[in-house]
């Protein structure tokens, strides 16, 4: 239910951004010019890789290879940390160039939407840490542990899917 509400909320956000992009092309172009599309690309590649690591970790956990799964959870977590660092660097660069929240509508949307997504990434990282700390300590997983890991995986993949649309609408 939480994931469905999140998906609906970000769908509305994507439609708002695409509407703004279409109806205010000049203001959108001016704002977008201050962003680095290569930084957005890097973050996309990081999140896609993290989704791969998580999916493989879930598959290994299900097969009982807990230690291998734990290593892949760590790789996913490292991707999450990298995403946050790249995003902070990007915010710093944009602010240095004068792109503040109050500068234009574009930057209000940019900080609100990417900031909300960043919050979801951090929430997902907390979920991954719980997966490792609580459920990957023993040699076998409890049914509750497996359900938690699968739910965290679905959430993480949703965060990745949302980023793919945000990357299209903000950076491309």
């Amino acid at each position: 239910m939480f994931i469905a509400i999140d998906a609906a909320m970000f769908s509305i956000i994507c439609l708002v951004m695409s509407y703004y992009r279409v109806t205010s092309p000049q203001a959108f172009g001016e704002g977008q010019a201050l962003l680095s599309s290569s930084t957005g690309l890097l973050n996309t590649l990081i999140l896609l890789s993290s989704s791969y690591f998580f999916a493989k970790a879930v598959s290994l956990a299900r097969a009982g290879a807990i230690q291998q799964a734990k290593r892949l959870f760590q790789a996913t977590l490292m991707c999450g940390v990298s995403f946050v660092l790249v995003k902070c660097f990007e915010y710093y660069e944009v602010i240095q160039q004068g792109g503040l929240y109050s500068t234009s509508t574009f930057f209000s949307y940019y900080y609100s939407f990417t900031g909300l997504h960043l919050f979801h990434v951090v929430l997902g990282m907390v979920g991954i840490t719980v997966c490792m700390r609580l459920y990957c300590q023993d040699q076998s997983l409890t049914p509750t542990g497996m359900v938690f890991i699968e739910s965290a995986g679905i959430y993480w993949h949703l965060v990745d899917m949302i980023w793919i649309f945000l990357f299209l609408l903000i950076y491309s």
Binding site: S18, V22, L45, S49, S51, Y52, A55, M161, F165
Partner: protein, 97 residues
């Protein structure tokens, strides 16, 4: 452990990385005359990428048909709405502006 499943993950991952880099490189190196066509093409590419993530990483391929249809319909609807926004926006919102 199912080796076939593991290889499927790898294929999906490599495909996603390649599609992302190729789409980025294509739109960085070519001049697109119509921004609405560019948005439509990119929205379809993004929809395909999101479908790959949902189908293979979210394991929609092993889910019940109802879940499969629901999630893929949501992705298709969102991608199509974004792609069609240059045409939809004037019709839907112009009377209120």
């Amino acid at each position: 452990m199912n080796i076939k499943t593991i290889r499927t993950y790898e294929l999906a991952w490599i495909s996603l990385l390649l599609i992302t880099v190729m789409a980025y490189w294509h739109f960085e190196t070519t001049s697109i005359t119509s921004s609405s066509i560019a948005l439509a093409v990119l929205a379809v590419v993004a929809g395909a990428k999101v479908s790959l993530v949902a189908y293979y990483f979210m394991e929609l391929n092993h889910s019940p048909t109802l879940a499969k249809v629901g999630v893929l319909s949501w992705i298709a609807a969102l991608a199509l709405l974004i792609a069609g926004m240059p045409y939809i926006a004037p019709i839907l919102f112009e009377p209120y502006l």
